[in-house]
Amino acid sequence: MSTLLRLATAGSVDDGKSTLVGRLLYDSKSVLSDQLDAVERVSRDRGLEHADLALLTDGLRAEREQGITIDVAYRYFATARRSFILADCPGHVQYTRNTVTGASTADVVVLLVDARKGLLEQTRRHLAVASLLRVPHVVVAVNKIDLVDFDEATYRALSDQVGAAAVDLGLADVRTLPVSALAGDNVVDRSTRTPWYDGPSLLELLEEIPAAVDPSTEAFRFPVQVVLRPQGAARDERHRDYRAYAGQVASGVVAVGDAVVALPSGRRTTVVGIDTADGELREAFAPQSVALRLADDIDLARGDLLAAVVDAPVPTQDLRATIAWLSDRTLLPGTRVLLKHTTRTVQAVVRDVVGRLDLDTAEIVPAEQLGLNDLGQVQLRLASPVVAEEYVVARRTGAFLLIDPHDGATLAAGMVGEPLAEARCPGRRPAQYAI
């Protein structure tokens, strides 16, 4: 049974990230011959001796002209054991927002470090973004190991620095390995030129990493997307009186017979049926898309949340949150925005900019405003309540967007609470990951 792993790549400019991705695709035989012909043709036209594998992922005209990655590119490859969705994120500082985007859905972030350059500020930024967004696993590939003559001491020193930064930033699972993206060492096959490294190759590692949170370790949460109520339009007469709440399980497991609470109303009821077009299920788990039938005809609509009765979240109109500011407009206190959380969108005002996150120290420093690519702490007041949870324990129900009410632009990625600070506190660990 093949499973799906979502990974995002990150790195600084010229760390060879596109080359690594090209190498992964090429060596896993996911590049087809007409794509390779095109890359070879363009490489030749530019006077290059070898095919420039970076051209496989840099798809936009401007990217090919400038030789850099501008926007997230999605790539797909598969081995016998697993299928991969790869979000290739740009390395430039001004494109940090793309790294945030890629990391938001990733099970694994693969971070490239140039063996000759050591741990750069940009590397710390990317580690901090991975921690902030609670990416379950981080793999740091120490690249261009061929250019330091496969020197073990250089690798060990860098690996230790990464380890220390990971502890600083509260990252639970960080692994390092030496690679040469250009030559292929330890990318798909284990290299004979790094005899001092006895771990898996990058692809082997990606095949083994646990793909997702085990839903049975989490609390059940179900944002209602649409009410299915076909009435006279039902394709079968037996469904004239059908009424169910359609959505994707955000976390946890629900079974027929389970007591649930509708939020924000607080009304309790029981799940009496779990439907899909393929038939009824006895239970459903994240991230299945299903429709739930309930015992009582309660007032429930899009934007509401069904939750397990035990430890149900509390609706609130005040949120303290960490946001990644993605717009080139400046965020000032008093700014009015729309807040989109699960399936609910409400008006909100930024009451206060508490501070900006200094990624070098991972501390909040005082700030009055936030600019493009800043990560900061804000206090929000909402026009009506949302059922939000701390992002550090609930990635799906702890996340939100801030949207410009005038032109609809996405202004910020938001995480309820202070995920970075909380991640560093022992005892506050996110859900367990099962293999």
Binding site: D236, R302, T343, A399
Partner: protein, 309 residues
């Protein structure tokens, strides 16, 4: 590679979804989001495999109700008859409302002119934009694995009043929170199959036993070799001087305008054969079958900027 042991239906009790189940769940979530947040969605339906799979997912997303939006076909006038028949039978079977935007109408009244090479894929953009007019969301079956410009496109792709895509200025797309807000005149193209590959589509067709037009499976057809592809001989494609008409065992990997969609030689007569063939192929589907993508390194990006899907 296995084909039939991965059903996209009810999941096993292990609390883990297979790859196809993950993709199905994601697509159904997207379809439901759009219906909940837009007023007048429409689904582009050509009878091609991706649009057939997308429609199948729409049926599942809103079961036991009907598909809550109409379907739109941009008809270049260069159709494969079996695909048009399949389109009409599907619309009839599911009780859908079908809108057709005809390139021929635009040629007849002079709003468009035939291209020198006689192909019509490029001519679709204007009738498409006119037909989209009153719709605020348009589902397309585009996949990111198809082409390198598509690899950069969001699941929700905001288009201006001219349908233009601005790749340098796309909204970041975070978690599964899709931002569909747009100004009057703008609309959103939505791609529920963004994360599917050609092989995923075929494995899903197999698992769900989805019917497709017969030309996706091997059959004998009169063809000529042109631009390194096999083009079917028909009313819109006549052999040119020096071209030899031969009968070949072929099938189609993509379905588009007959004048620029090539067939591939194949003995794959059923879905299991096709899955095996796709798993082993060394050519991308567009590289193997589409003349319009060969114009330049950025042919698709340029067309998308002009409002193409």
């Amino acid at each position: 590679m296995t084909t039939t042991d991965e059903h996209a239906g009810p999941a096993p009790r292990t609390h883990r979804l297979t790859q196809l189940q993950s993709l199905e769940s994601e697509a159904i979530h997207i379809l439901r989001e759009v219906v909940a947040e837009f007023e007048r969605p429409v689904l582009l339906f050509s009878g091609g495999k991706d649009s057939v799979v997308m429609l199948h997912l729409a049926v599942k997303a809103f079961w036991p109700g009907p598909v809550p939006f109409p379907v739109l076909h941009v008809d270049t006038g260069h159709n494969f008859p079996e695909v048009l028949a399949f389109r009409d039978a599907t619309v009839e079977r599911l009780g859908l409302r079908l809108q057709v935007a005809r390139v021929q109408d635009y040629l007849d009244d002079g709003r468009l002119r035939e291209r020198a090479d006689g192909t019509r894929n490029q001519l679709q953009t204007v009738p498409l934009l006119d037909a989209i007019g009153r719709h605020d969301a348009v589902f397309g079956g585009g996949r990111r694995d198809e082409e390198k410009a598509r690899a950069k496109e969001r699941i929700y792709s905001l288009r201006d009043e001219f349908g233009q895509w601005d790749p340098r200025n796309q909204r970041p797309e975070l978690w599964n929170l899709y931002n569909g807000r747009h100004r009057p005149g703008e609309h959103v193209r939505v791609f529920p199959l963004s994360n599917w590959t050609e092989l995923d589509v075929w494995r899903y067709v197999a698992a769900e036993r989805i019917a497709l037009p017969s030309l996706y499976y091997a059959h004998d057809r009169e063809v000529v070799a042109r631009d390194g592809m096999w083009l079917a001989v028909g009313p819109h494609t006549q052999p040119r001087e020096g071209e030899q008409v031969t009968t070949r065992r072929v099938r189609y990997r993509t379905v588009g305008d007959t004048s620029c969609t090539g067939a591939v030689e194949s003995d794959a007569t059923d879905v299991a054969d096709v899955v095996r063939e796709i798993a082993a192929t060394r050519l991308t589907e567009r590289g193997a079958t589409r003349a319009d993508d060969r114009a330049s390194e950025a042919a698709m990006e340029d067309r998308k900027k002009e409002g193409y899907f």
